[in-house]
Point group: C2
Chain length 515, copies 2
């Protein structure tokens, strides 16, 4: 049937969506969410149909993505026909029914995801089925390979290519800002692509952006790495794993993350990485809660690395409290700079040099941690960091004090004297978000005490920074409600961490899907 296009001036998040009236749909023999094939003299594309009760006959509403793909103008003729359901839908159904998918089937699904042939409903069902049934190593490998094949890749002509990744879940983890310059100062290539915060107060890209631009194009990244051997950039616009970006859109509202392994590893492979250290923080409020789970995940990372020809080492790290004291883009960038100049918190320095050390050992160095510490203490890591900042277009003379903090601040104080017995990471992250991070760069939290520290009644536990009174007040209110730090005179004294008074499932909290 022939229709006249009506440009809807709306986006559909990258999907190809068209709209027609119920009557037209009936005549075409299709219903809402069916796929239709659109043909013009210039091209052809498959789209997902929405129907509307009231929509003019013979008119096809097109979202912006369809309009630009087919170069339609208002009134352009478009021939529309019912399209067969994509074969991959049968494979998704197989997975729902508990079958293991074969590599070709996985590839068909990923290809149809990238081609936008699958609706949100179908994608959501697929990731839910993956979450519930789990994925075999064969499926994980096939998913990774398919995601790599559908995305762009980058080749650096200076092997080996080192990399570091944290599966996340611990606020304030600015370790990458130390590991990258340490490893690069040791003479190795480490082009780090990182993500912005989705649900956390700061992602590595947000932290680095406090120091220099991170939104580099592929060729700019190659130049930077050629020049200084390293970069810390935002990977989101590089189109390394377009399938993953689409999966995340449905995983995020569901707070599930069944594609963790292929998502991370496909991006590493696309960046050309050959030697990688993966940080798996373990904590009751972290992404991984037990050392057993962390070990299983680590084994899977290593095995997947073997299959994809990458050497992987994993580190299970302490994740019961934030890393360092700062949470929020500028606060964290400040703390990282301080650590690079030799004045960093013990846990941050230990974590960064340990991970850098493991990485150095994967390429044959001995006693990696000692070497990493030496590089850090010698000032070579700081020097390298300033070179990276300059190469990416930032000010190499940047100082911690040069990074502004939210002009409004207040201390949340201890209601009694004692020791810090526990810290709730998730509550800390929520308070930092409410204070304005990461959108407002100077907002966030600065911890004045950490696990085991002695505090006096009335002494500051942490300081909240915000842009305005409103945000500050909201963050303070939340801090009073959530009570993110427990203070008591000795361990075991303040055992109640949370009270539950209603027969409801745990709240639909925003699980940390940032990777």
């Amino acid at each position: 049937m022939e229709f006249k296009a009506r440009l809807l001036d709306l986006e559909a998040g990258g999907k190809y969506i068209v709209v027609m009236g119920d009557e037209d749909a009936k005549r075409l023999g299709v219903i809402s969410n069916d796929r239709v094939r659109l043909r013009t003299d210039g091209g052809e594309v498959m789209a997902i149909l929405n129907t509307a009760e009231e929509f003019p006959k013979g008119v096809l509403g097109v979202y912006r993505e369809v309009g630009s793909r087919l170069r339609l103008v208002e009134g352009s003729p478009v021939r529309v026909g019912a399209a067969a359901r994509p074969e991959s839908l049968g494979f998704i159904r197989s997975k729902i029914m508990g079958e293991k998918l074969m590599p070709k089937q996985v590839e068909a699904i990923v290809a149809d995801v990238v081609e936008r042939h699958l609706s949100d409903v179908e994608l959501a069902a697929f990731v839910t089925a993956l979450q519930i049934h789990g994925t075999s190593m064969e499926e994980v490998e096939a998913l990774s390979r398919a995601m790599i094949r559908m995305g762009k890749s980058i080749t650096f002509d200076r092997p080996p290519i080192l990399d570091k990744h944290s599966i996340g879940g611990v606020p304030g983890d600015k370790t990458t800002l130390l590991v990258v310059p340490i490893v690069a100062a040791a003479g190795y290539t480490i082009p780090k692509s990182s993500s912005r915060a989705i649900t956390s107060p700061a992602g590595t890209a947000d932290r680095m952006e406090a120091l220099c631009p991170v939104d580099l194009k592929m060729h700019e990244i190659i130049d930077v790495v050629d020049e200084v051997g390293a970069c810390i950039v935002w990977g989101g616009a590089l189109d390394l794993a377009p399938a993953d970006d689409l999966f995340i859109q449905v995983e995020y509202p569901l707070s599930i993350d069944p594609l963790l392994l292929p998502s991370i590893m496909s991006k590493k492979k696309a960046m050309g990485s050959t030697h990688i250290v993966i940080d798996i923080p373990v904590g009751r409020e972290a992404k991984i809660q037990t050392v057993d789970q962390a070990q299983q995940l680590a084994i899977n990372f290593i095995e997947l690395g073997n299959r994809l020809d990458m050497k992987i080492r994993c580190a299970v790290t302490e994740g019961e409290q934030p890393v360092g004291c700062a949470i929020g883009p500028n606060l964290e960038a400040r703390e990282a700079l301080e650590a690079l100049t030799g004045d960093g918190p013990t846990d941050l320095v230990d974590k960064a040099t340990s991970l850098a050390g493991i990485l150095l050992e994967t390429v044959g160095e001995d006693d990696g941690k000692r070497r990493a510490l030496e590089i850090l203490r010698s000032g070579k890591a700081e020097e390298k960091m300033r070179m990276i900042i300059e190469a990416q277009g930032g000010d190499p003379e940047v100082t911690p004090e040069g990074l502004p903090l939210g002009p409004q601040s207040l201390d949340v104080t201890a209601e009694r004297s004692g020791r810090v017995l526990w810290i709730n990471n998730r509550s800390m992250a929520q308070i930092a978000r409410v204070s304005g991070a990461p959108g407002s760069k100077g907002s966030g939290l600065l911890l004045r005490a950490k696990l085991g520290d002695e505090v006096e009644e009335g002494e500051a536990l942490f300081t909240i920074y915000a842009e305005g009174e409103g945000r500050l007040g909201q963050a303070e209110k939340m801090a009073r409600e959530l009570e993110p730090m427990g203070v008591g005179s000795h361990i075991g004294e303040k055992m109640v961490m949370l009270r539950i008074s209603e027969a409801a499932a745990p709240g639909p909290e925003r699980y940390i899907i940032d990777r």
Copy 2:
């Protein structure tokens, strides 16, 4: 933040959806698919947010549902704030993680479905999790009760209220058109609400619509049933189970049906039914494939009936071939009328009188099947059917010949002499759909031979009826490809039913979700 409304002149399938630019969303601290709360001086509603890269600042695009709910005009001021994620999302997540839901949690989910607080992604994840983990009887009961509570109910002041339901999956099943008048002629009240075809060539509402209007309002149904003790109407617009209609929108593209029990039983309860016979056809291409599965389902129906205070009896019926010979609205209505006048196919008459008999026995009659057969043979069922047709606004003098068939027809013939060894229901249904059923009332198939019948080479196996040459040709082509009937000289001779030559999962066929 305050926005100005822009009316988008688009529907979102009943959901409340609004659009704003990425920048505005960022300032509001929300991302695509987050929920926002909209406030005007006149009202308040929760909506799901879509974001667009290019969208004017300060403008909120509103889909028609939001516009009419809040009575917005172009430029109306709307205050928009981030809304908490609904609590039910946590319960959906619990179900994904394999937990059993408590009744209050189920109720919260169903309420949020009906209130449109959940996105398609979330709904799809929920039904997928139900499909994979299964539902306990407690969950099924809670789902049924919640679906009843969220919908409209009807009360007929003449107990007992009898009803009949088939879980479907067998083409040509016009049994209801006999059972209802038989039971009503026996003096009982049987207000039957039925569905239109979604994926099959005809639903009961489509068959009845060949004889009279079926799209009656609630008060009209009450009048009809008061007058003649029975009706056969379309239940789709009665708002009996609005949650179910929304679930079906996501179940259908996935071809899964985890809510079968609560969906059926909530609608029966809403119609005030007290005694119900449920038909469970078993066949290799039917919805239920084995007698064991059918028995388990029957037990569940009966137990759920006990809990909801309804007396349920189930019949596991032969579903290896179509019921009777006709497939398609007018063809089936013809066959039903003929059967009511004493001239029906053996299987249809046997099935209808058996089911009617079981139903009569649930209210205390003895020897129900004999009684049903007597009523049918006496002409009282036909008489009652004509009263129902008249009460619903149709012509009580309607004759089988008065129902027109598609002017184009052709016979699909046997390529050799022998017996009909098997019939593929799914292929038959597909061919009938391609011929134009149910949209074109006179289209469909008429079987000239059924299982075990002798046919000569060149003799008709079935006749295809269609409106035009195009449809007829397409249906014939499909009939040649699918070969829906196997003919051989003795059983065991034609063992190959389907050839599979590619390592692909079974095609994403449209599973029969009509209920």
